[in-house]
Amino acid sequence: MQHAGTDIADRATVIVNDLMGLEGPLLPILHGIQHEFGYVPSETLPVIAEALNLSNAEVHGVVTFYHDYRNHPAGRHVLKICQAEACQSMGSDHVAAKIKQLLGIGFHETTRDGAVTLEPVYCLGLCACAPAAMLDGVPIGRLDDEALEEISAAVRL
């Protein structure tokens, strides 16, 4: 049986080889890695660094700069709650408090059953449909308690 680390490195190599011909390929590669693994495993950093002739530290610096890249897997669902001004004006504070209470977790946390990761987001461009959220890439507007209860039940299925 292969060592898990070797497997990760092999899968990363395929992605790196596929994308390294792009101009400025690092972000597309990191998006590709996160899409493949659900996060950016630390084992992939030397593979990327080697291929792009960068130091591990440089790649690490880029990964940690951007909010999107995770260093550990997220839950099965990712729920992003908008906390920016337009949603604030429509009660996003209450939305955040309510969903935290329903799921029993805070922002940047994952429920113990691995069902859902809760994150704040600063604007989804749904500012005329506030307060807004995004569940696994699907936009949801005009959130009220009923909608939040539905979401909370749906992610646990």
Binding site: L26, A86, S89, L126, A128, C129, P139
Partner: protein, 518 residues
């Protein structure tokens, strides 16, 4: 004849249930054996009426909204397929006052056409601008854009033609057009709407920019929070390439131009142009010091036009109808139209494209219809998280770059967030500092450290600890951030903070005094 039913696939409409409506409509078409097809158009931007379903009839379009999936059976019973009357009928959408009062130049097709249909695009005037540009010299194209008076719609308001001229005049073996689609400001969604609803207009605008400056490669940097816009733009670029609009011979001319779609990774600061360039290059999205200007040394050190989505999407109509036509709209040095986005706690939220010069009060009270909650408007923030809070006393300010600057504010990307009287302006000021701290790239000290000190100082103020001292400190801190920061993130965070403090001092007064006053 096959009936066409339009159901928006725009993210805003999807957020309000358009997908369920589309499924229900498809079910009714099949169940009733109707000869009808569904087109997923963009949004017209009347979000309080979304999902807004339109049907093409012999006498023009008839709209219904806001439609819920549970309304669909009744709508078909009422004869939706032939424009039948129903309590949700809105009549001809173009006659809805919110739309009728607009001047749609940039958004002429948005919400009307099938976004990925090149036929629709061309039958509604698309590609006319590019066809003209192909027959002109680069200098003439640049001159046309300069004469139109178009200024950067991303927020800085820098004349687009001058930027293009610098790139045209800078010799290099390779030049780039970069479209800044990192629309991170709260209350703004114009870029998203146009990318989802009329993607070819952006492709056409970028291609014209390429011809005008000698650039052969374009990038659209779209924020990752916009997965639908990324999908539509990616598909549109592919279609444009197959149709010969992009590629080695643009519309059969000897000019080459191609476009690549790139996704951001959740950093607000990458909406700042130099930080965006670093991000495209695969680096941390850290701001660069200027000079050198991106027009001289931009992406990969090459001359680069970096423009906002709306600036580029406004170029085709300028080339098509001529600079005078565009320039005739507007006031002072703010020429043409601006897509104002009315958002937050507002009754009629949406996109309102109009000539510069409308007052803030008209936009909020008249067009927007006041707050959604029905309470009095307390404040509006114009220009996103870095824009100033305006009280009702300043509602006579006309929408114009200079007029807003004269009132210590900014238009920015033209988003307006409405707040009712339950808003706590000290809390809003604190959020501005907190947001700056979360999103700071960390390169310059006033922004990196100032924002965190700002949060602490405002917390002390809220706790009633030596209030006069805290106000003096936060004022001084804002002055340092405004003049000492490298880019607009640190430099403009003082706008919301100081405007809140200046216009709403009662919210910053110590709590016991507030109670005594009441």
């Amino acid at each position: 004849m096959t009936v066409t039913i339009y159901i928006p696939g725009d993210s805003g409409a999807l957020a309000l249930g358009a997908e369920k409506v589309a499924r229900a409509v498809a079910g009714e078409i099949q169940g009733r054996g109707l000869d009808a097809r569904i087109v997923r158009n963009g949004s017209r931007g009347l979000y309080w009426l979304e999902p807004m379903v339109e049907v093409e009839t012999e006498t023009g379009r008839v709209a219904y909204g806001p439609v819920k999936a549970s309304d669909v059976v009744a709508l078909f019973d009422a004869g939706l397929a032939s424009g039948g009357s129903h309590p949700l009928s809105l009549g001809n959408p173009e006659d809805i006052p919110f739309l009728k009062r607009q001047t749609r130049l940039t958004f002429a097709r948005c919400g009307v056409v099938a976004p990925l249909s090149l036929n629709d695009y061309q039958s509604h005037g698309g590609l006319a601008g590019l066809r003209k540009a192909v027959g002109m010299t680069p200098a003439d194209v640049v001159q046309t854009v300069t004469e139109s008076g178009l200024r950067g719609r991303g927020g800085a308001g820098f004349p687009t033609g001058i930027k293009w001229k610098t790139v045209l005049d800078t010799a290099a073996d390779r030049k780039y057009i970069v479209c800044n689609a990192d629309e991170g400001d709260s209350a703004t969604f114009a870029d998203r709407m146009i990318m989802e609803g009329d993607p070819f207009v952006l492709i056409e605008g970028m291609t014209i920019a390429g011809l005008a400056t000698g650039a052969t490669k374009g990038f659209v940097y779209i924020r990752s929070e916009y997965p639908h816009a990324i999908a539509v733009m990616t598909a549109a670029v592919d279609i444009a390439r197959k149709a010969g609009i992009l590629g080695t011979t643009v519309l059969g001319s000897p000019n080459a131009f191609d476009i690549e779609i790139r996704s951001g990774a959740g950093a607000y600061v990458c909406g700042e142009e130099t930080s965006l360039l670093n991000s495209l290059e695969g680096k941390r999205g850290v701001v660069r010091a200027k000079p050198p200007l991106p027009a001289i040394q931009g992406l990969f050190g090459k001359p680069t036009v970096i423009n906002n989505v709306i600036s580029l999407a406004s170029v085709p109509v300028i080339l098509d109808k001529g600079p005078e036509h565009y320039k005739d709209f507007g006031m002072g040095r703010s020429r043409g139209t601006i897509p104002v986005q009315i958002a937050g706690n507002v009754k009629h939220g949406g996109l309102f494209e109009a000539a510069f010069g409308m007052t803030l009060g008209e936009l909020v009270d008249d067009i927007g219809g006041g707050t959604a909650t029905g309470r009095p408007v307390k404040a509006v923030q114009v220009g996103g998280p870095l824009g100033a809070y305006f009280p009702r006393e300043l509602f006579d300010t006309p929408f114009d770059y200079e007029a807003f600057a004269g009132k210590d504010g900014l238009i920015g990307h033209a988003g307006i967030t409405v707040f009712d009287d339950s808003a706590d302006m000290l809390k809003q000021a604190r959020f501005a500092m907190e947001f700056c701290a979360i999103e700071s790239c960390g390169k310059c000290t006033p922004c990196r450290i100032g924002s965190t000190r700002g949060v602490e100082t405002l917390d002390k103020l809220a706790a009633g600890i030596e209030p006069d001292k805290q106000i003096a400190l936060v004022t001084d801190l804002c002055n340092t951030m405004k003049y000492g920061s490298l880019c607009a993130l640190g430099g403009f965070t003082p706008y919301p903070v100081m405007s809140a403090l200046t216009h709403f001092p009662q919210d910053f007064a110590p709590k016991p005094m507030q109670e005594a006053a009441e």
